[in-house]
């Protein structure tokens, strides 16, 4: 029970810091919910884009710099 309480107060403290520092604390509950949904959606789409494209780009740049291939033609 003590561990659950301390985890809950830890999460409450950090959620409070997030809402205070972004001034979401002042918005109405519906607005808070929509803003959180928007933020989570934006972050998840960014994460997905990162996951799909960034490794391929990194490999391309590595091979370009270290000269294992000529400049690739525009596809």
């Amino acid at each position: 029970m003590g561990v659950v309480n301390s985890v809950k107060s830890f999460l409450y403290f950090w959620y409070l810091q997030y809402t205070l520092n972004t001034s979401i604390y002042m918005l109405e509950p519906l607005e808070q919910f929509l803003f959180n949904v928007f933020l989570v959606g934006f972050l998840s789409i960014s994460a997905y884009t990162f996951y799909v494209f960034v490794p391929a780009h990194v490999v391309q740049i590595y091979e370009l710099i270290f000269g294992l291939r000529q400049v690739p033609a525009a596809t």
């Binding site: 403290f13 409070l16 972004t22 001034s23 979401i24 002042m26 918005l27």
Partner: protein, 551 residues
């Protein structure tokens, strides 16, 4: 690296001998026969002696707090615009005034002020304008209210809470409904009635007013004084009768609205100088004297420097010895507004002139109010006999406004008699010393906890910086729940990114009340993470303030 930007904080080097300063060269490399240098040194030393005890800090804003504040305002403004758009297409309830779109008419509500008050201020409106009842002494009764429509409107729940009062201007603790002052006021109301029913020049000048004017003059140490029933009107209605067109007013950039209004009404040219910055003031004075009036290049008729004793939003004290030196050098006049400093600072409670140990006759116009320290209402202007004679004839408030109510005048007379010790007790001295002790103790403890405080170590107004509007809202609500009432201030009264809570200390606060308040503040500070300060611990303490014991 320290992030503190301190002004005149005494350091070790100030106390070492003045001879070995520049790379070990004696006397700073200057060659003289020794006689002139000695007297000059003595003059400089006595002139700068006040700087050794003058300790003011205005710590820099931490970078993360500034960034969070800007992001927060960005989000609030964006959400506000989205709500405006939704309101225009009919979705969502926004209970502001609906403006019909009539072609050919200028819109009423398009400015930033309306937008801010609907979409930022309104959201935390329950922290401001709280209804209170009863005497606002060391504790006050706040009437509870709640809002069911996101703070567009409020309903009373029927309950009330008694909280510690750190919001009222009650520096000497005269805000009481019992005690010698209240009894004398009751007797006076029985003798004179409640109102004077006339202006000062038309049968409104009672013997009580004459006694009060004489007492104020004795208290300040000036030749004569003139009182006005409203503190704001003392500034706004009397400055126009002192300066006019062809005069120049140099006013501090953080002056109160009443001073700004009075200066504008007078018709004189106004120039502001940086807050409490004597170099900027000197530069402006020199430019004014050299360049003279803008187009005609005639010399200014009068140059008036307008400063306040204690600035209530910053907690800073004006550098009066320096201002007086500049005033005498450049032959300007000085208007000193001691609204928050009379009674609150100085070894005898006589204001900022007393604090620095200067001669009150040096200040041309000493203005102050009775609202903060004397538990009354109204203001005064003190100065030479010629000045007061002129004001009695030409001031707007003498001609047009009703004179001070007898009960209020008696409150002023009673409280000033207590402060001067004329009632035979040491009550006045006790209150002054208690306030001083409270100020030092409270400020020291808060700075040791790690909060950013602004202002001088001796000022009873304590601004605690929180930078973000959401944090001041949370602070205000939490502290009310835990039993402490403070005033929080946000954008229009302070710069946009420097929102703060302001504690007003009082001589009626006991050490137990202060400790309780400090504990509450520390708990909320941990919850909100507002202990931003990276400065060294304070070098002052309350131990050098002797308290007067009850006999």
């Amino acid at each position: 690296m320290s992030m503190v930007e301190t002004i005149y904080m005494p350091s070790e080097n100030d106390f070492r001998g003045k001879t070995k300063k520049f790379n070990g060269v004696q006397n700073g490399g200057k060659i003289s026969n020794g006689c002139h240098k000695k007297t000059k040194q003595v003059d400089e030393e006595t002139e700068k002696a006040w700087e050794k005890d003058f300790c003011e800090t205005f710590e820099e804003t931490p970078m993360l707090a500034a960034i969070s504040t800007y992001i927060g305002y960005l989000i609030l403004v964006a959400v506000g615009h989205v709500r405006e758009f939704l309101k225009s297409i009919g979705i969502g309830v926004v209970k502001c005034v609906a403006e019909p779109k009539i072609p050919g008419f200028v819109p009423l509500y398009q400015t930033w002020e309306s937008f801010y008050s609907w979409y930022v201020y309104r959201r935390i409106q329950d922290c401001f304008c709280r209804p209170v009842s009863g005497v606002p002494g060391a504790k006050m009764v706040v009437i509870d209210r709640e809002s069911n429509d996101h703070r567009w409107s409020f309903q009373y729940t029927g309950g009330h809470s008694t909280v510690l009062n750190f919001g009222s201007y009650n520096y000497l603790g005269f805000s009481q409904n019992s005690g010698p002052c209240a009894e004398e006021v009751e007797q006076t109301i029985k003798n004179y009635g409640v109102s004077v029913c006339g202006s000062r020049q038309e049968l409104g000048y009672l013997d009580l007013h004459k006694q009060m004017d004489r007492l104020v003059a004795d208290y300040l140490g000036v030749e004569d004084a003139y009182t006005v029933p409203m503190g704001f009107a003392t500034n706004s209605m009397n400055i126009p009768s002192l300066v006019g067109k062809g005069c120049l007013i140099l006013s501090d950039e953080l002056n109160h609205a009443s001073l700004i209004l009075g200066c504008r009404l007078s018709g004189a040219k106004i120039k502001t100088f940086k807050h409490n910055c004597m170099k900027d003031l000197e530069k402006n004075l020199r430019e004014a004297i050299v360049d003279k009036q803008p187009r005609t290049h005639r010399p200014w008729k009068k140059i008036l420097i307008v400063v306040e004793g204690v600035y209530s939003m910053e907690g800073s004290i004006v550098k009066l010895p320096e201002v007086l030196r500049l005033k005498k050098k450049y032959k300007a006049y000085l208007y000193l507004d001691e609204a928050h400093s009379i009674g609150a600072i100085g070894p005898h409670g006589k204001g900022v002139v007393d604090y620095f140990g200067l001669n009150p006759r040096d200040v041309d116009i000493m203005m102050g109010t009775f609202t903060k320290s004397f538990g009354a209402v109204g203001g005064y202007i003190g100065g030479s006999q010629a000045l007061v004679n002129h004001l009695r004839l030409y001031s707007h408030s003498a001609i047009y406004s009703s004179s001070m109510a007898p009960g209020v005048a008696q409150q002023i007379v009673s409280s000033m008699n207590i402060m001067l010790g004329r009632d035979g007790t040491r009550e006045g001295e006790k209150r002054i010393q208690q306030l001083k002790w409270n100020t030092r103790y409270f400020r020291r403890r808060l700075q040791e906890m790690g909060f950013i405080l602004y202002g001088n170590k001796d000022s009873p107004v304590v601004p605690l910086l929180m930078f973000m509007p959401s944090k001041i809202a949370k602070f205000s609500r939490e502290s009310l729940n835990r039993g402490m009432g403070v005033v929080v201030v946000g954008f229009p009264a302070t710069p946009m990114t420097k929102c703060r809570a302001r504690f007003c200390l009082s001589a009626s606060h006991t050490k137990e009340m202060l400790d309780e308040a400090l504990q509450i503040t520390s708990d909320i500070g941990d919850l909100l993470a507002i202990k931003y300060s990276k400065a060294e611990p304070p070098s002052y303490s309350e131990n050098d303030v002797p308290l007067v014991e009850d006999s």
